[in-house]
């Protein structure tokens, strides 16, 4: 009986919490339950969801990537500076950050797969290195259109309209970033559940030695997962620059915690019991709804961390408690 209740909580807990939270805010806040507000919520979670997709992929191969937050910071600064300092064309502004993300992923993979440093420690170190690089690169300043340098000169460029479209534009009333996100979620979901490559990733994460003996090139699979993680964080960084129209220092640091929370909420959605991208998306929505509602209730910004942290702890508690019970 107790087990059944537990499994029900595991399967539908996240969904019930989301519905509960939405109902609560809808009753308390007159403007909450509206199409516009939901579009806002979706818009607000696109960046963190892209980052969370990357975290999902690293978790699937039984890894962990703490460096995603600073990767977002570096790539958002990278995109902004390419446009504002160096007036580069759009494709360079998008391509270079993606390459940066991939390189960070490769470095992570090198440390973890080749040198066998535990994933948490390797990516923790990488998180500080990448974070340091982005601050050194900008000398600690935000990057904005025609910003003034310390020597009195001004930056030549500004963010182009086409670049700003990515994060701010709408198509048939739907934010373009949301459309991009939904496409990404669908593609990654199909990749993970329907292709042999997705299967190989789950298998590698599930039992690396058995996967190796089955003829899977596990080091390659793990490397690619970290590269993908870096690239998705880079997409988040590009969108961030486009959304705010400038390059903000430390833009990504709150995103690490939010994306990890989203992934672990997603662990238990529909009883998956493993990292999965649909669950991650739903986890992001939950966090987005919470932040949106709390903001509308005029709670101070810094209290949000308490709420987000609590959501993460609850998600972790449900996930690990049920997973460990079912093992024995």
């Amino acid at each position: 009986m107790k087990d059944k209740a537990l499994h029900f909580a595991f399967r539908y807990g996240a969904i019930i919490v989301i519905i509960g939270v939405i109902t609560f805010f809808s009753v308390r806040l007159p403007y909450f339950f509206s199409l516009n507000n939901f579009a806002d919520i979706l818009g607000s979670i696109t960046i963190v969801t892209f980052v969370a997709i990357g975290v999902t992929l690293s978790l699937i191969v039984d890894g962990f990537d703490l460096s995603v937050g600073s990767t977002v910071s570096l790539t958002t600064i990278g995109a902004a500076s390419l446009m504002i300092w160096y007036e580069q064309p759009l494709y360079i502004v998008i391509l270079v950050p993606l390459i940066i993300g991939a390189v960070i992923g490769l470095l992570n993979a090198f440390l973890i797969v080749k040198l066998r440093i535990p994933d948490l420690l390797a990516t923790l170190a990488m998180m500080y290195i990448v974070g340091g690089i982005h601050k050194t690169y900008t000398q600690g300043y935000n990057i904005y259109n025609h910003m003034a340098f310390q020597d009195g000169t001004k930056a030549p460029g500004e963010m182009t309209k086409s670049f700003l479209q990515l994060g701010q534009g709408k198509w048939l009333g739907i934010p373009i970033s949301v459309i991009l996100l939904l496409i990404a979620v669908a593609v990654v979901h199909i990749f993970l559940t329907r292709t042999k490559y997705g299967r190989q990733m789950y298998v590698t994460g599930g039992n690396v030695e058995a996967a190796r003996l089955s003829g899977i090139k596990v080091n390659k699979v793990r490397t690619l997962a970290y590269v993908a993680s870096g690239v998705f964080a880079a997409i988040g960084g590009i969108l961030f620059a486009s959304r705010v129209g400038s390059g903000q220092i430390d833009a990504g640091s709150p995103l690490l915690m939010e994306s990890v929370a989203a992934v672990f909420v997603g662990f238990s959605v529909f009883g998956a019991g493993k990292p999965n991208v649909i669950g991650t998306f739903i986890g992001s929505v939950l966090i987005g709804v919470l932040v949106n509602g709390l903001t509308m209730m005029n709670l101070q910004y810094f209290t949000h961390d308490i709420v987000k942290g609590t959501v993460l702890v609850l998600a972790l508690a449900v996930t690990f408690y049920v997973l460990n019970r079912s093992k024995t």
């Binding site: 292709t195 299967r199 039992n207 058995a210 190796r212 003829g215 090139k217 019991g273």
Partner: protein, 507 residues
């Protein structure tokens, strides 16, 4: 010392997943006695000892000390009752960074009534007196990581004495020891006996039993078949009692046509474990590689399948030489391994039967990278029927299947992979008798299809029963090869133990 101490286990019964491991076993030991416990693999002696040390709880039966009922519900309860175990894996029980004194007194550190403040002088004195009692000369300040294996064993024995052990179980203590080390071990064992400790001695070496033990109990298939004074028995009798029915009576062999050599490995070396192994397999041939635990069988199996790297040596397949950097290379060349540690290395326990079966052949069931669910399912159903895998459905997770059925999945996933050489490492370990005969049938069928089979086992009877050729491995080398029907178990034993101790038996 009270040599009147008596420990009795009465009609102990224990099942695992419905498979009986022990059936009504009686066993007793007295203080001041060395009692040997003998039996082949799976005879149930380690299960019996695990019950005594509190790791398992019996389904039926009772354990009495001095006629009083003992409830051994946990390892701590057993230790409370004065029952201690000296495991073969000494390193797992010691803390290498600490010195001898701290290791000997380790349990008193965690005891409920121990003092908060340590008293180094008193600890040292106690350890010194114990080591004196054992007549052992070890520097008590040296770190355990610097000690030899034999010395570590002494530290473990001292540790049991520090807790006033009444019964000490020795699990194959002499297996890793050199001859002179063994001699000093027995000197200590006799000393323990004379001071009134009840010693239970698990071993495979019959001469040790006959020379050093007072009485002997032989187990077979979860039952006790013999208990008696060692002076009233001999090696032949003991072997006969351990073996029972022959393998061939139980599992008839499938006929297969033997062709050309397809797989060849020469002069395989790796550290001390493999010291120049040569082996050949012909198509349709089952080569059984038998040897005691620690002979290097698993190491060889893993190198031949690309799971580990060798120091030197050559592997070739159908005359083409191979460089195996990782298992994927071996799989691509048509060599597959069914590993010994099934749950850890062979299968994905949380995943479904279908997914497990299609893993090595994802290319066959997918189109342009997409897995075709219908094809995957059809293929899985076909294999489940062919192999006799008992599962509720193809969607069932492997963790809910019995060990035998899990093993069939671990083997079955390779069946349609068009591999030519199958390497099995102890495939019948932890498998019930029904699944065992299914597994032998599958292996026989593979040979009949012209595949080459390498069958690694420490069960001599299995090797004799299934092998067209039997290669005996000992201490990292293949010491002798027999054709089918040329050898009997006693001969295999002789060569498996290095040709020095005729009556050594692996169990």
């Amino acid at each position: 010392m009270s040599s009147s101490f008596r420990l009795e286990m009465k009609s102990i019964t224990k099942q695992f997943a419905g498979i009986p491991a022990l059936q009504g076993v009686d066993f007793s030991v007295n203080g001041g006695q060395i009692h040997a416990l003998l039996g082949a693999n799976g005879a149930g002696k380690s299960t019996l000892m695990k019950i005594l040390s509190g790791a398992y709880y019996p389904d039926e039966g009772e354990i009495l000390a001095q006629g009083k009922l003992l409830e051994l519900t946990s390892p701590a309860a057993s230790k409370q009752g004065g029952i201690h175990c000296v495991y073969q894996e000494v390193d797992s029980a010691l803390v290498p960074q600490l010195n001898v004194v701290e290791n000997v007194m380790l349990d008193s550190l965690s005891a409920k009534n121990s003092r908060i403040w340590l008293n180094p002088t008193r600890m040292e004195e106690k350890v010194k007196s114990i080591l004196n009692r054992l007549n052992v000369n070890i520097d008590i300040q040296s770190k355990v990581s610097d000690l030899s294996l034999a010395e570590k064993q002494m530290v473990l024995i001292a540790r049991t004495l520090a807790q006033d052990a009444k019964v000490i179980i020795f699990d194959e203590p002499t297996a890793p020891l050199s001859e002179s080390e063994s001699r000093s071990f027995f000197r200590i064992l006799h000393g323990l006996r004379d001071s009134g400790v009840a010693c239970i001695f698990i071993t495979h070496r019959l001469p040790e039993v006959l020379e050093h033990c007072d009485c002997v109990t032989v187990m077979r298939d979860g039952r006790k078949v013999h208990t008696g004074d060692t002076r009233e028995t001999n090696a032949e009798q003991l072997i006969e009692q351990m073996l029972g029915k022959t393998f061939e009576e139980e599992f008839p062999k499938v006929d297969a046509e033997i062709g050309e050599v397809i797989f060849e490995a020469s002069n395989i070396r790796r550290g001390h474990q493999l010291r120049g192994v040569d082996i050949k397999v012909r198509s349709g041939e089952i080569v059984a590689v038998v040897g005691l635990v620690g002979a290097g069988k698993t190491e060889l199996a893993r190198i031949l399948s690309g799971a580990d790297r060798m120091d030197s040596g050559a592997i070739s397949m159908k005359g083409k030489s191979l460089k195996l950097k990782q298992p994927a290379d071996a799989v691509a060349a048509g060599i597959v391994l069914v590993p010994e540690e099934r749950r850890k290395q062979g299968i994905f326990i949380q995943d479904s039967v279908e997914h497990n079966l299609s893993l090595p052949v994802l290319d066959l069931v997918s189109r342009m990278g997409f897995v075709a669910a219908r094809r995957e399912k059809e293929r899985a159903n076909r294999l489940v029927d062919a192999l006799g895998i008992k599962a509720a459905s193809g969607k069932q997770a492997l963790q809910y299947l019995s060990g035998g059925n899990q093993q069939k999945v671990a083997i079955g996933k390779w069946l349609e992979s068009s591999s030519d050489v199958f390497i099995f490492d102890e495939p019948t370990k932890g498998v019930d008798i029904g699944a065992k005969s299914d597994i032998f049938r599958i292996i026989g069928d593979l040979a009949a299809q012209g595949k080459g089979i390498l069958y690694f086992t420490c069960e001599l009877a299995e090797g004799l029963g299934i092998g067209d050729r039997i290669a005996v491995m000992s201490d990292g080398q293949i010491t002798k090869e027999f054709k089918r029907g040329e050898a009997d178990q006693a001969q295999l034993l002789y060569y498996a133990s290095g040709g020095t101790e005729v009556t050594t038996y692996e169990g």
